[in-house]
Structures are given as structure tokens and as C-alpha cells.
């Protein structure tokens, strides 16, 4: 597949320029998130600055939750970074680890606090995992297929495979492949108290990134090509993504652990952080660096090779 465009938003800002700047200069310190219902607990987080949401397209979606807004920001940025594809041939594949859990917990919290018959319809309708894909589709007016894939570790890898299947089958000619995960109170509490994750040197993060993908075409029209690593191929550079948050057994555990640069500290720990490492890999491609391997440290996602 070819990558035609990349858009993203995270703690360090919006767009590939912001990522490039973060790679060179590092990022601002994390903010502190004190859990509203558990004031005794605070944790550093890499959250997205609120002012990034203050653009017309996001203001127009006034009911959208943070989960949806992050996806909209990144998707719009992605299309701005490339030649616009014919929208009637675009499909959306969205990967998420935890989905819009903040909306889900807000809705549940309302039921607990006010009663089963007093739930917020807005919170409920935004608690479904495909709400972000729906907002992106509505913003861009794409009428093709839109699907959301959920997995705590390998959602991005699965989404890449879905995109390939759609392109190979001719179901669409372009795939807007995105990933999004958000910081939320209850999940942070679970992470803090529940002993569910390896908390060593970890700062939770949030963000979204989108890749515009197509079937392989002329090299001049793409940012990079992307495919699973093939045996016998040597990369010029290896990036190791260390974004994963939940160390569970995975189907790809036999993959050898690679060594290489890791930039996951720039966006923080999140289930779908691997997509930011793919964006970094695309940035690292130069005439001297023709092939960059992107390896998931948790081995949940097969290694992907990006080539000029």
C-alpha cells in the first residue's frame, strides 16, 4: 500500500510539522490530571491542548466528544497533507484500544448519580466505539464503508490489514486509516490502582493519527509505501514502538525483539500509539534512509516496513 498523506494530533501539537519539531526539540512537560472523583489520585498525562480544538470544523460539531474531536482533527489534517481523493471512493477504518470510554463512564455515572431513567442521550450515543468514525465521515461527507476495530494492543495492525483487504478487493480505492485513544478518569484510576499495566516510566497519553492509503502506485505520488516486513530485507533504520499499555499474551509473541530508536515518549502510552511511530518512520525516510522498519515492542503488531 502507499501512504499518500498523514495527519495527527497529540500532546506535541497538530500535524507532521509538530511531530518533526518534537523529534528535534522534545515536548512540553506533561500536565497533571487529578481525578475529579478521586482527588487523592493525580497522575502526569500527555493530553492535547484545548486550543487545538478551536477551529471551525470542530466548533461545528458542537456535540462531539473529545474522542470524536481528536479523530476529526487528525483526519482533516491528513487530507490537508495530500491531494484530495475522490471522496466517493474512500473508506474509513478506525482503530481504537479503549474507545470513547470517557463518554461511556459519563453516561454510566449519570445513571448512578441521577437514576436509571435520567441518562444523557448525548453521552450514550457518543459512547459507541464507532462514534469517531461517524464524525469523520460526516465532516468529510464520505459515503463509503466505515468500520471501527477495537483491540487493546493490536488495533492499528488489524486496521492495516482491513485496509489492505478493502483495497485488494476493490471495495474502495482509498482508505483513511485512523487511530484514536483518549485519556479518561476511570481508566486512569484503573491503571493507577488496578495493577493492570507495567507502570515503569509510563505517562499515559492521548491522540489521533490518520494515514491516507491507496494501492501501490507511482513512487512520485506517495509519501512512502507500507507493507509487512519481508524476510531477507534489510532496513536502514529500525524504530521500536513502546506505546502499548497492557501486557497480555498476543498471537505474535514469537516475533524477535528488535532494537532501535523509540519515540513513544513524545506522545505517551496509549493502545494505538503505534500509528505515531509509523508517522515517525515516514519522517525518517530520506534519500539516504530508504527503508525504515517499525517494530511494536509488545509484538502484538507484525513489524511494518516503510519505503520511499
Amino acid at each position: 500500500m502507499d501512504i499518500l498523506g498523514i495527519g495527527l494530533v497529540a500532546h506535541f501539537g497538530k500535524g507532521m510539522g509538530a511531530l518533526k519539531d518534537a523529534l528535534s526539540n522534545g515536548v512540553a512537560p506533561p500536565s497533571t490530571y487529578r481525578l475529579p472523583h478521586r482527588q487523592e489520585i493525580s497522575t502526569p498525562v500527555y493530553s492535547i491542548p484545548d486550543d487545538l480544538f478551536d477551529i471551525p470544523a470542530i466548533r461545528a460539531a458542537r456535540r462531539a466528544n473529545r474522542f470524536g474531536k481528536m479523530a476529526m482533527l487528525a483526519a482533516a489534517d491528513c487530507l490537508e497533507s495530500s491531494l484530495p481523493p475522490p471522496l466517493d471512493r474512500v473508506g474509513i477504518v478506525l482503530a481504537t484500544g479503549l474507545g470513547p470510554h470517557a463518554s461511556n463512564m459519563e453516561f454510566s455515572g449519570g445513571l448512578i448519580q441521577y437514576g436509571l431513567d435520567q441518562g444523557s442521550p448525548t453521552h450514550f450515543s457518543h459512547s459507541v466505539h464507532n462514534s469517531a468514525a461517524a464524525y469523520v465521515s460526516n465532516m468529510l461527507k464520505t459515503h463509503g464503508p466505515a468500520t471501527t476495530i477495537t483491540h487493546f494492543q493490536s488495533a492499528v495492525g488489524q486496521a492495516l490489514q482491513v485496509a489492505k483487504a478493502w483495497l485488494d478487493s476493490g471495495r474502495v480505492d482509498y482508505v483513511l486509516l485512523g487511530a484514536v485513544d483518549e485519556i479518561g478518569e476511570l481508566m486512569l484510576y484503573i491503571f493507577h490502582e488496578g495493577q493492570l499495566i507495567d507502570k515503569t516510566d509510563r505517562i499515559p497519553g492521548e491522540g489521533s493519527a490518520f494515514l491516507l492509503l491507496s494501492r501501490s502506485g507511482p513512487a512520485s505520488s506517495r509519501l512512502a509505501s507500507i507493507q509487512p516486513m519481508r524476510s531477507g530485507v534489510e532496513a536502514d533504520l529500525c524504530l521500536v514502538d513502546d506505546s502499548s499499555i497492557i501486557p497480555l499474551p498476543t498471537p505474535h509473541q514469537t516475533q524477535a525483539v528488535a532494537t532501535g530508536a523509540s519515540y513513544s515518549h513524545l506522545w505517551g502510552k496509549m493502545p494505538t500509539g503505534y500509528i505515531f511511530s509509523l508517522a515517525c518512520a515516514a519522517l525518517k525516510l530520506t534519500p539516504e534512509v530508504q527503508k525504515v522498519l517499525c517494530v511494536d515492542k509488545s509484538s502484538a503488531i507484525p513489524a511494518m516496513l516503510l519505503e520511499r
Binding site: F124, S131, L140, K141, Q161
Partner: protein, 390 residues
């Protein structure tokens, strides 16, 4: 044309039955199985379709929704003769759901919000419970795609569509595809908050329909490329002819007023199957019994297929099982296509003058080699699956 993707096994669990024979009997007899919720009370009315067998209760290490899914998967694999998977075959698992991917445990959350203690059992079970992934581990399958689709009420149908594409692309050799969902107090309160929960047994397409009833359960198909299935000695009788998916790009909860996304999904499925509208023997509609869904879906189906093509909603037998219902309805569509009948559209009594279709009031004989199953979802997702008779 590429190799046909055939159905070699099916499994189903819902309030209407524990297995395929029980579903066949319930649907033929027009039996409803809705009741007041047995394990919770609410300050409003709304019958549900529960799977009452206590064997499917959540346990310390498994969510209820997984147990519901496992039942259908076991039945489907058994019917396909795949208790043991063939060596060197890659099994893909494609399951749609909503509740398996949400931590919908109000007791756990109550402890959190009130500053009280909480048990880690619920989140631990949740984090280990990704439906397709867990299914793969339960089956002891080391490799192959494990895709959990979370497209709200279209999840199950979209999971089958993905399976179709993966099989055609050679990304797997055998696919388990469908969906599962469990009744949840959160969903119950949620649909009430939207004002779409019916206080009485649902009445799909009826003039006096008042909304949907929630249900739970699972429906799963085993899909394979035809030559591989025949090489194992299977003589398949049905195949997946086409699939389409499209977005309304309109509203988070309301369908497009002209059903444009649904029409696009159906026309994509028809084109992919190289079929005409007149080829459909019948349609198993989404038919939730909400005023908007049934009016828009009914009008769209009539516009595409004409008012005389038989259309039935089976929500009166199972309730709306959200991410699981696409799998269930694919199973019902397959049974109807193979045996040449569709069940009564229970709950339908009075024609709605705004809906130009008339679902059957009794079990009805149908003819034709193809049938369509549709799903519509929050977020404007629409999915259409066409099954064919060999």
C-alpha cells in the same frame, strides 16, 4: 468470478432458542420470548429478550458476552465438522459486538464514584475479554486474523463482510464470522434515554409501533472458499453472494431521511454479487420497531425492490441484540433461504400508511435463490449481506 465463499456451519443463541433447531421451531411457530428483565428493575417499562440459561452468567474470568458467543461458535464449528481445525489452514475470527468492548459494570463504577472500594475482577475480565482475541485463545489458535468489529448495531453484519473480503484476499482460509452481545443495564438506560425503548413487546413495521426491545445472544457463520470446503467432503448449500457497507454522513443517531446510506450499501452488495433487484427472494430487514428506522427502511426497501418483495423483521423473536443481531439474522436468512419460508413478522398487525411494505403476519413460503439481510446503526453505518442458494 472469484471462488464462492460458502457457508459450512451456523450457530445461534438467543431468547428464541439455544441452538438452530430451537430457533427454527420458535420462528416457525411465531413464538415470542420477551419478558420483564429478570435481574434488574428499572423505573420504566420495557420488556427484554433474555437468554435465561444460568450457564451463560459472567464468571470471574469470562464476560457473559463471551459465553454467549462461545455457544454459537461451538455449534457452528460442530456443524461445519471443524471440531478439529485442518492443519495448515488459517482461521480468521471476525466478531461484532458493543458490550464486550465497554466496561459496563455499574456496581464497579458505583464504588469508584462514591469513593468506595472496587474489585479488580471486572476490569481484569474486561481487559482480557476482547471478543475475537479471546475466542482465538479459547480455540487454541495461534495465528490468523482476530478482528473485533465495533460498528454498533451493524457490527455483526460488517464482521461477516470483512470475513468475505479476507477469504477472497487469501488472508485466511476459514472464517468464523458473526456477532454477540449481552443485555446490559447501561444499554437499557441508554436506549431509554434516547426515547426508543418500547414499553410493550416490539411491533416492527406496525402502524402503532412504540420502539425497540433489547435482546442478547449470538449468531455465527463458518465461511470457507468453496473448493476447500468440498475438498474436506462438505457439500455446501448456501454461499455469501455479496456485501455492501455505506455511511449516511448525516447524524449520530438518526438514519438519513431518504435512506441513502442504506440504498448505497444494498446496491454495493447487489453489484458485488452481480445480481438485480428482482433476484431477491426475500429480505430480512433490520426492522427495530422504532418509528424512524422502520419508516425509512421500509420506504427504502420498497423503492429498491418494489412493495411485493417479501420483507420480514425477526426482532420480535430476539429483540435487538445490538452487535450480535447481524449474525443472528444472517442465520435466520440462511434458514429461510434454504428451506423456502420466512416467519411471521410478530408484532405486525396494522399497516402503517407511511410504509409501503406489508410484512407477513404468518409463516410464509418464499421462493428465490437469493436473500438479503440489512443492518443500520448509530453513526449512520449501513450494511447489507446477500446470501445465495447453491
Amino acid at each position: 468470478m472469484s471462488e464462492r465463499i460458502v457457508i459450512t456451519g451456523m450457530g445461534c443463541l438467543s431468547a428464541a432458542g439455544n441452538d438452530l433447531p430451537q430457533h427454527r421451531d420458535s420462528l416457525r411457530a411465531g413464538q415470542r420470548a420477551c419478558q420483564k428483565p429478570s435481574w434488574f428493575t428499572a423505573p420504566f417499562e420495557g420488556p427484554v429478550y433474555e437468554v435465561s440459561n444460568p450457564a451463560y452468567a459472567a464468571s470471574a474470568d469470562e464476560m457473559r458476552v463471551f459465553k454467549l458467543a462461545w455457544k454459537a461458535v461451538s455449534e457452528a464449528l460442530s456443524q461445519a465438522g471443524l471440531e478439529t481445525l485442518p492443519t495448515r489452514s488459517v482461521l480468521g475470527i471476525f466478531l461484532g459486538t458493543t458490550t464486550a468492548c465497554q466496561l459496563n459494570d455499574l456496581e464497579f463504577q458505583r464504588g469508584f464514584y462514591t469513593g468506595g472500594p472496587f474489585s479488580p475482577v471486572s476490569p481484569t475480565r474486561f481487559f482480557a475479554g476482547n471478543l475475537a482475541d479471546r475466542m482465538g485463545r479459547r480455540l487454541g489458535v495461534a495465528a490468523g486474523p482476530r478482528v473485533t468489529v465495533t460498528n454498533a448495531c451493524a457490527s455483526g453484519t460488517d464482521a461477516m463482510g470483512l470475513a468475505l473480503d479476507y477469504l477472497r484476499s487469501g488472508l485466511c482460509d476459514i472464517a468464523l464470522a458473526g456477532g454477540a452481545d449481552e443485555l446490559s443495564l447501561v444499554s437499557y438506560g441508554g436506549f431509554h434515554s434516547l426515547g426508543v425503548l418500547s414499553p410493550e413487546p416490539c411491533r416492527p413495521f406496525d402502524k402503532n409501533r412504540q420502539g425497540l426491545n433489547l435482546g442478547e445472544g449470538s449468531g455465527v457463520l463458518v465461511l470457507e472458499r468453496e473448493p476447500a470446503a468440498r475438498a474436506r467432503g462438505i457439500s455446501p448449500r448456501l454461499f455469501v453472494a455479496g456485501y455492501g457497507s455505506a455511511s449516511d454522513a448525516h447524524h449520530m443517531t438518526a438514519p438519513h431521511p431518504d435512506g441513502l446510506g442504506l440504498e448505497r450499501a444494498i446496491r454495493t452488495a447487489l453489484a458485488g454479487a452481480q445480481l438485480e433487484e428482482r433476484d431477491m427472494g426475500f429480505i430480512n430487514a433490520h426492522g427495530t420497531a422504532t418509528p424512524d428506522n422502520d419508516r425509512i427502511e421500509g420506504c427504502t426497501l420498497a423503492r429498491i425492490f418494489g412493495a411485493s418483495t417479501p420483507v420480514v423483521s425477526t426482532k420480535g423473536y430476539t429483540g435487538h441484540a445490538l452487535g450480535g443481531v447481524g449474525g443472528m439474522e444472517a442465520v435466520f436468512t440462511a434458514i429461510g433461504l434454504e428451506e423456502g419460508w420466512i416467519p411471521a413478522n410478530v408484532g405486525f398487525e396494522e399497516q402503517d400508511p407511511d410504509i409501503p411494505i406489508t410484512p407477513p403476519r404468518q409463516t410464509t413460503t418464499v421462493d428465490g435463490k437469493f436473500a438479503l439481510s440489512t443492518s443500520l446503526a448509530f453513526g449512520g453505518s449501513n450494511a447489507a449481506l446477500i446470501l445465495g442458494k447453491i
